[in-house]
Symmetry: C2
Subunit: 339 residues, 2 copies
Amino acid sequence: MVTRFTRKDVAELAGVSTATVSYVFNKKRYVSQELTNKVLFAAKRLNYYPDMIASSLTTKKTHNIGVLVNDLSNPLQNAVISGIQRAAIKKGYFVNICAGESNFDVYIDNFISRHLDGVYIAVQATEIQREDILKLLDYNIKLVLNKTMNINDPRVNQIHLDLTAGMMMIIEYLAKQGHKDIAYLSCYDESVLSDERLPAFKAAMRKYLGCNDPVIVYGKVPYESTIESGKILVEQLLDTGKTCSALVCSNDLMAFGAMKVLHDSGYRIPEDISVVGIDNIELCKSSIPSLTTLDQKSEELGMAIFDLLYNDIVNGEIAQKCIWPQLVIRDSTAPYGKG
Amino acid sequence: MVTRFTRKDVAELAGVSTATVSYVFNKKRYVSQELTNKVLFAAKRLNYYPDMIASSLTTKKTHNIGVLVNDLSNPLQNAVISGIQRAAIKKGYFVNICAGESNFDVYIDNFISRHLDGVYIAVQATEIQREDILKLLDYNIKLVLNKTMNINDPRVNQIHLDLTAGMMMIIEYLAKQGHKDIAYLSCYDESVLSDERLPAFKAAMRKYLGCNDPVIVYGKVPYESTIESGKILVEQLLDTGKTCSALVCSNDLMAFGAMKVLHDSGYRIPEDISVVGIDNIELCKSSIPSLTTLDQKSEELGMAIFDLLYNDIVNGEIAQKCIWPQLVIRDSTAPYGKG
DNA sequence: TTGAAAGCGCTACCAT
DNA sequence: ATGGTAGCGCTTTCAA
């Protein structure tokens, strides 16, 4: 183990005051070139590392932000986190990841005790107390929330991935390909108001096809958006005996599950039925067939989240940002009647 | 914004010394029930949160650990991180995720400045300086490294997922099923010494089948372990004209690619050829056919990593741990000659 | 069993 | 343009 030298040691070796050493490092006031050089030289000789803990104690800034999510195993979420992290490190911020299993209050307390500068919370609105979230603001911890959380406090920054627009893109595309009977596998039922895909699907079917009661299969509690749930829901769809030439799924994993079952039941994709997912996870490129889907721009989303946080931490500015998804067309869709 | 009360405020309200307040919270010396109650009551009334930054300044412990990886988009890696995080929060530790893009030294400096208690580094040995890693030890930051990194300093904890044993399980299983001609699609060529699957495959073929020169197709720079590379390598295998009744792939994605090409070339899986992957990613359950593979126990691995770190931070004990993978048998494999 | 007080390393205000 | 120094909130030794 090596002795950690402090700002005082550097000051002595450089023959300057401790204040000057500080100012050389944090550039908060001008220091002559001569003294700057002396300090830098001394610091290098001593292998000096500034102590962020000590500086945090006075500045009340830790340059640390938190990300609270339900589940780290969601690849989409991970891409968002990756974007946050990349943007953060460029500005000298570290990212604490927190994935809860119902004990979110532990994290909230920690956020306060640890003086995080900001937090992005992306857990289900039903699983966390509104007042717990807002408590963070009382302790000067900046907040970015998803717009779908529907917490409209003027002190919170909001980020929105516009899935309504995205769903419109999907249906418009399918309609242009000649599809009329389009079914939807929804991971949620109608009671989950935070989900905008479902109402958007209905609206889009009305707008582009004049269809007022499209075929929709709803997921049940506990709502799952997994390969498995895709299988289950598509089986329910097949059981109804209703036909469709295109199928939209709440996310890519469900689409994979649906494709598996459809394939095993003798349907050819896309000849007999076109399938569309949402998310554009890595695997979409390589599934068989590759999956037409909605790109969530997750990295971009992550960067936008950090920018909101940063701008609030540094300038105290609150803002909202909206990211538009993008339709990525691959092999799981084809014009109607092509089979 | 709310005023943050300090230990001093609590002490005054409770009519005790500040030291007593500290001891009530950190339980490092006995405090009478009476005073304890007074303190707790006062703390609750003031909505007091201990300031971890201040306490870190004196104790030199931040209860914060770092995880440095190449890439946050790897689902397998994410499962490991998830395991680390879950184990960490139970002991009151937070996890900083860091994913580098060649600027690893920035992270190393930050680890030191931020006084992280420990770090797990899982980046390619070629991409990070050995001395940068070991420097952390000089600053009392505990280390867990993958055994494959081959850094044998007595101060570093090592974790090992035994893929050699795993490969043995695969070959033993296939041999017992009557397979003799087993080919291997390796994502790396023989120059990559950190990969233990390749030598393990050769050793296993010798041990279980007395075979000294099994059929192996090698990936080339830039080494890829994707569905695409699986397709390319299996095509090379078919081009050689050599026959085999079973095929082992470096990972699941490559196995998916290989299955796709084999299927398109008229082979039935598993009747004509058995296929085995490695990793057990979510999709293996739902591929067509579902894939026999090696489960990496990623969550368990993550927990083991935290345990190593924790035991070093708290007790100063260095250890090594080995996690065994587990063979998961599904529909892509069958006894030889079953077709 | 409890209290007083000296630091931990840095920042930033007040001087000069 | 630079220095001196009080104080950030907590821990922990020393004393009682």
